[in-house]
Amino acid sequence: MDKIVVPKPRNLRRNAVVLSVVFLIVGSAVFAGFNPIEIIENFSKGKRLLGRMFLPPDWSYSAKVISPLLETIRMAIVGTFWGALTALPVAVLAAGNFLKNPWISKPVRLILNVFRTIPAMVLASLFVAVYGIGPFSGVVALSIFTFGLISKLTYESIEAIDFGQVEALMSLGADKPNILRYAIMPQILPQFMSYTLYGFEVNVRAAAVLGYVGAGGIGQTFEHNLAWRNFDRVGVIIVISFVVVLIIDFVSSHIRKRLV
């Protein structure tokens, strides 16, 4: 029996795309000086550091980790709260299908975009310059960061709602506030709560590193010990915060699954 051979179509455009993507990847690796062979050769150094961190970690230090860790969680809670609270009304303005006024929704979206592109770390170091070193600066940074994140997700859900309910209310002569209250809010609230929880998970992780620029929480303790080269204490901080983050993620994603 002859083999059946299906000839592949020659596709110039596809090849050009593949070629340029390969060029982009190789080019950036070369530009950044990324050399896999060198990295594999250097691996023993990394093993030594990991050994000093985790074999064994300085467990006696763990009592001192608890209070900055609680501060981190507090920062995440408060930052998420303010961020979510401000995100909801702004998301309504940014959604194109409620006010139906592009002169409002387009600029609001543009501003939200700018908010989302500034990294939380940069915001935090800016606020440290204004509010001083401590968790307050971190909370302000987290609030703004969360606001950008949640408002984007929420306005996208508002745009994806079932419009039948809105039309039903409109045909009864309901005004905008009533449409918002009885047709839009009930549909997006579960998703909004889920996004808020998601924001909280992200914030716990972000709050844990914000201290690196002086914005409070466990990151500050981490940075101290790293600067003093107390690697066994750094190991304890990493292990404990890792476990806490894992637990928070697990609980929160469980609740989120039930919500939506």
Partner: protein, 266 residues
């Protein structure tokens, strides 16, 4: 005409449930707020804000036009290079992880192990990974690439495995019934089917990594982060502001291009 009123009936049990839920949430927020002391703004804050605003109006243009290795264009290009390489590395490594976590490839039990490993990777902060890799390869862009490459497995591995789990198994079975080896099944049935989704997720992660790469410099892992933090710490606002502006612009443009490609893909 009378209004039509629909009354909701609530049982006492439901009331109790709500009180516990909302009350608990309120207590949690209150507990959080009490732990964040507001110590007022710094004595120097007014001056800081004033010079910050003047920095927005008069950004440091000489830094923007500095084409040497110390200039802004080089730092931005390096940030993009870190994001691209890091995303590529993680996309390649994510495929075996994703296969290991897919129920329809390795079975229920093994997939649970794979999923757990991916969750562990996702939870580990990339900044700490960057610190570890700095001690391995020294400060610079390669450490950032490795940090992003490993950290992104946490998200890409999960999304990839979800894509693999929801694929059409008919193609795989057809190849298997013809006697295809497991490698042939992987490269001719699994990957071609899920590749549009894989590419789309990879691009999405690239957008995220672009943001991450801009903070990695903070710990010395290359990119725009280091000059930015240095400018903020030394209160060199005109320079800090030009960096923030260029960063916002670059990230927005990349987001726009990437999301347009993604829309065309899936």
């Amino acid at each position: 005409m009378e209004n039509i009123v629909v009354r909701k009936t609530i049982t006492p049990g439901q009331i109790l449930y709500r009180v516990i839920n909302y009350g608990g949430l309120a207590l949690l927020i209150l507990w959080g707020m009490l732990g964040i002391p507001y110590k007022g703004i710094m004595a120097t804050a007014e001056g800081t804000i004033a010079s910050l605003l003047s920095g927005i109006v008069h950004p440091d243009m000489s830094y923007l036009s500095n084409m040497t290795i110390d200039g802004l264009p080089y730092a931005i290009l390096e940030t993009i290079a870190i994001a691209i390489s890091g995303t590529f590395v993680s996309a390649v490594i994510s495929i075996p992880f994703a296969l290991l976590a897919s129920q329809n490839i390795v079975g229920q039990r093994v997939s649970l192990v794979g999923k757990f490993i991916i969750t562990l990777i996702r939870t580990f902060p990339e900044l700490i990974l960057a610190l570890i890799f700095i001690s391995v390869v020294g400060p610079g862009a390669p450490a950032g690439i490795l940090a992003l490459g490993i950290h992104s497995i946490g998200m890409l591995g999960k999304l990839f495995s979800e894509a693999i789990e929801s694929m059409d198994m008919g193609v795989k079975e057809a190849l298997e019934s013809c006697g295809g080896s497991s490698m042939e099944v992987l490269f001719r049935a699994v990957l071609p089917q899920v590749s549009p989704e894989l590419i789309s997720y990879t691009l999405y992660r690239f957008e995220i990594n672009m943001r991450a790469a801009s903070t990695l410099g903070l710990v010395g892992a290359g990119g725009i982060g280091a000059p930015l933090i240095f400018a903020i710490r030394t209160r060199a606002w005109p320079r800090a502001m030009i960096i923030v502006m260029v960063l916002v612009l670059t990230v927005s443009i990349i987001d726009m291009i990437s999301s347009r490609i993604r829309k065309g893909l899936v």
